[in-house]
Amino acid sequence: MNNYKARSSAGWLWLLGLGIFILVIIVFPMLFVFRETPVWVSFMNVGLGLLIGVPFIYIALQVREISYIFHADHLEISMGRLIQYKVKFSEINELVKKDLTITLWSSMRLPGLALFKVPYADEGVVSMCATSASKNILLIKTEHGKYGITPAAETDFVNMLTSKIQ
């Protein structure tokens, strides 16, 4: 098998909930005051709600697309069109499994989900494409950066990766 999926988590539900929440708090009240509010204000609010809320929902739906694919000379870490990391086997210096220590600052880190570049207290900035924010992260350290992933069939994945690296 060359294509590994991420282990399941409820992280995507947080994003979905957040997206829906934003739509509800911004768009829902407008329905009640639509007639009394200037048209441009209504459109601006609804537009703002959609602009902020819809991307969260889109990302939530993309989380199921997370996959770790082995190619001839590199590992592809991807989440649909949003994340495409290519890690050359020859550039991998270290492969470890550990709990990362999270900070308050992050681009996209929720319980059960970590995406894009996330700063951690112990490892610095890690390019994440994982269904866990900090627990049991498989950390790939390369010359150019660190990558955090959470494959479902972890033992198989580790065996495959170590055989490719060595």
Partner: protein
């Protein structure tokens, strides 16, 4: 009618649940995971009402009476009274928020993890304050007839204020267990004063709402930065490098 507007309590309930879930969830996920913190939240709920009704209000009335003042936030008041009002909330609230650490069970927990324990105490206070302010709004004739969803400003402000209280109390308890009570208390008072100063100057008619929002945002950012700095330093001293499984390490 008991309340001029009872719809605010629906908004308050949403705000309290939202703040508890989001800030509590964040604290639980990145701080130490202790079930007792849930009790901290419940324990702190009445403290805002207590400090307002039993300390702040009587103190204010006493000063008004002793100095024969009219009271209220306006430029007709003497400077000392305006300063008194500006520091009344920071001085009293920052102190009452740490009172529970005199309880042995609370003290034991705070000793082990002062930063996060304090943050949970502060969050509980913030939730209680949201309820107390909702009570104030419910009694005001200014808001008669408004539906629950018209209090969006209340939701946003109280949501952020819960975090502010959490950070301020977290900082104070951290300083207390560093044996620097006066430094921590002084810092908490100054930061609280800084957070409140925009709204205070707005009430005096000195600055506009836009500037108030900027000041508020800046003060929140400063608070989060200070809290994060302390938290990061604590983490660095606690990180155990050995807890990892090495599958591969390239020999150099």
């Amino acid at each position: 009618m008991i309340f001029e507007n009872d719809q605010i309590f629906i908004t308050a309930l949403i705000t309290i649940l939202l703040s508890a879930a989001i800030w509590g969830g964040l604290f639980y996920s990145i701080g130490s995971k202790q079930k007792i913190y849930g009790l901290f939240l419940i324990l702190m709920l009445p403290f805002s009402a207590l400090v307002n009704l039993l300390i702040k209000s009587p103190l204010n009335q006493m000063v008004i009476k002793v100095f024969d003042l009219q009271g209220g936030v306006n430029l007709q008041q003497p400077l000392f009274y305006l300063l008194f009002l500006a520091f009344l909330a920071p001085v009293t609230e920052e102190f009452i928020k740490i009172l529970p650490i005199f309880l042995p069970a609370v003290r034991e927990r705070v000793k082990k993890d002062p930063l996060w324990s304090g943050a949970w105490l502060g969050l509980g206070f913030g939730l209680g304050e949201a309820l107390f302010i909702a009570y104030g709004i419910s009694k005001s004739s200014q808001f008669v007839g408004l539906p629950w969803y018209a209090f969006g400003g209340y939701v946003g402000e109280r949501f952020v204020v819960c975090l502010i209280h959490a950070i301020l109390t977290g900082l104070l308890t951290w300083f207390i267990f560093q044996k620097k009570f006066f430094v921590g208390y002084g810092l908490a008072i100054l930061l609280h004063f800084f957070v409140n100063i925009g709204a205070f100057l707005l009430a005096l008619g000195i600055i506009g709402l836009a500037f108030v929002n900027i000041l508020f945002l800046v003060s929140v950012i400063i608070l989060v930065l200070i809290f994060e700095k302390i938290r990061k330093n604590l983490l660095k001293s606690n990180i155990n490098e050995s807890e990892e499984t090495v599958y591969f390490r390239r020999s150099k």
